[in-house]
């Protein structure tokens, strides 16, 4: 044991770099918005046929190349990359939410269901997602949410990723990239109450927003007598704002194989746009411990849970 004063202990914590994780660091990288996503699909033509009706009233155009297909709409884009075995998270909380004119949402959902896609109407917990909305998968298993809006511009309302370690991920997305926490779920009594209502009845909450998950003490105290014990819990979520767009961090619903640790550039990935010069953004990224790589005007990041992102600088 060493004896230290509390001041020394505090400076040791500061040196460890995790002080004030919640707040963006002074001079953080400034992000204008989520600029899109890059997703893996098994067949570009099949993917285009799926997304075309969704983007029907979005101003934009398709840009094909050999192994990629991009839908560009204003300052955002959906970029599809062809892979024999696409990495999608069909059974988890990772999803991309596209804006669709409110008057079209129901008919579009019907049209997609008639085309053979399984469409579910769920709600989530962010205050802007408490109305029922249609969810489905693209043919490769990427989860899609349709968001009723006054117009399809900007195209992408939010993206959500799965995380295990909130502190580490907030370190990147809040402290380093300046996201503002605009909602969190799972820390409140009312979140617990909502989870009970979900287990009790027919609350159509999106499956990754709730857990039926006995903990150790439930198992110890009741598990031997009641093998079908059910313990409802809210699934922890944190939502960050970048301009008019949002990134959701959803507590991972299962453990998945991550890409090799040394891989920094990968898919699927979130695309961020920054009007900062790449030199300036790279210098700030270099001053922080999160793994990153620079290629031209882009800086690529990998968060602690293996989620990839790309910052496209001005």
């Amino acid at each position: 044991m060493a004896t230290e004063t509390s001041a020394a202990a505090e400076s040791a914590r500061q040196a460890a770099g995790f002080a004030a994780v919640l707040k963006p660091v002074d001079g953080h990288i400034s992000i204008d918005s989520v600029a899109g996503v890059q997703l893996e699909v098994r067949d570009l033509a099949e993917a285009r046929a799926f997304y075309e009706p969704i983007f029907w009233d979005a101003a934009g155009s398709w840009k094909p190349s050999a192994r990629t297909l991009t839908f560009e709409s204003g300052s955002q884009s959906l970029e599809l990359v062809q892979k024999a075995k696409p990495r999608t998270f069909a059974d988890g909380g990772q999803h991309t939410a596209y804006r669709v004119r409110a008057t079209r949402v129901s008919s579009l959902a019907e049209q997609l269901a008639e085309a053979g896609h399984s469409v579910e109407w769920w709600h989530e917990d962010h205050p802007q997602e408490r109305e029922l909305a249609p969810y489905l998968h693209d043919p490769s298993g990427n989860r899609v949410q349709l968001v009723a809006a006054s117009s399809a511009d900007p195209l992408i309302a939010h993206v959500a990723i799965e995380v295990h370690a909130f502190d580490y991920c907030e370190y990147l997305y809040v402290r380093e990239l300046g996201g503002e926490v605009d909602y969190y779920h799972g820390w409140r009594v009312e979140d617990q109450t909502a989870a009970k209502a979900w287990l009790d009845g027919d609350d159509p909450a999106a499956p990754w927003t709730r857990r039926d998950n006995p903990g150790w003490t439930d198992f110890r105290d009741q598990g031997s007598k009641n093998r079908s014990i059910r313990v409802p819990r809210p699934n922890t979520q944190v939502f960050l704002r970048y301009g008019d767009t949002r990134l959701g961090m959803i507590s991972a619903t299962k453990t998945r194989q991550e890409p090799p640790e040394e891989q920094i550039v990968g898919t699927p990935r979130i695309l961020f746009r920054s009007s900062m010069a790449a030199d300036q953004a790279a210098a700030r990224a270099d001053a922080e411990p999160v793994p990153h790589e620079r290629h031209g005007r882009s800086i690529y990041f990998r968060d602690a849970d293996g989620n990839f992102s790309e910052l496209r600088c001005g």
């Binding site: 509390s6 995790f18 009312e190 979140d191």
Partner: protein, 152 residues
């Protein structure tokens, strides 16, 4: 005789446990040490909860509805259970100013008897209604019990 040496930490409850933690960080300059989440939610149940440090004191926060006095009731009454933190006189003035800037209601400074151990105290509640006192001691130069931290 029991060989208990000191209080290790306090488990704090509030209707919004993260709001309480954010208060400790932003108003009282606390540090969020860890949000227990990895491997905890999955197969073991439970919810993410925050552990943080104020000065040298550890708090763990949990969401619970609890019958505490309303925020408007800043001091006294039957709910006088509180955590009292001693700070330097200079820091005491800084904290008072910080509470004013952040719009946190508080009572005091209360001036204690001149020959007693305490100089002044202020009293306030966190967003969950948990009750705090911050004081400066007249013998503020004396180090009573230096904090021991484990070696890295």
């Amino acid at each position: 005789m029991a060989d208990i040496e000191s209080i290790s930490h306090s488990g704090m409850v509030a209707p919004d446990s993260r709001a309480v933690h954010t208060f400790y960080e932003t108003v009282l300059s606390g540090v969020r040490e860890e949000t227990v989440s990895r491997s905890y939610e999955g197969t073991r149940g439970g919810n993410a909860h925050s552990c943080g440090i104020l000065g040298d004191y550890v708090f763990v926060t949990f969401p619970r509805r609890r019958d505490v006095a309303p925020l408007e009731q800043l001091r006294g009454g039957e709910d006088s259970f509180r955590h009292g933190f001693a700070v330097s006189r200079t820091r005491f003035d800084e904290i008072t100013q910080r509470l004013q800037e952040q719009g946190v209601p508080f009572e005091g400074p209360l001036v204690h008897p001149e020959r007693g151990p305490l100089g002044e105290s202020i009293y306030f509640r966190d967003p969950g209604g948990n009750y705090f006192e911050v004081c400066w001691r007249r013998d503020e130069d004396v180090q009573y019990n230096p904090v021991r931290v484990a070696e890295e």
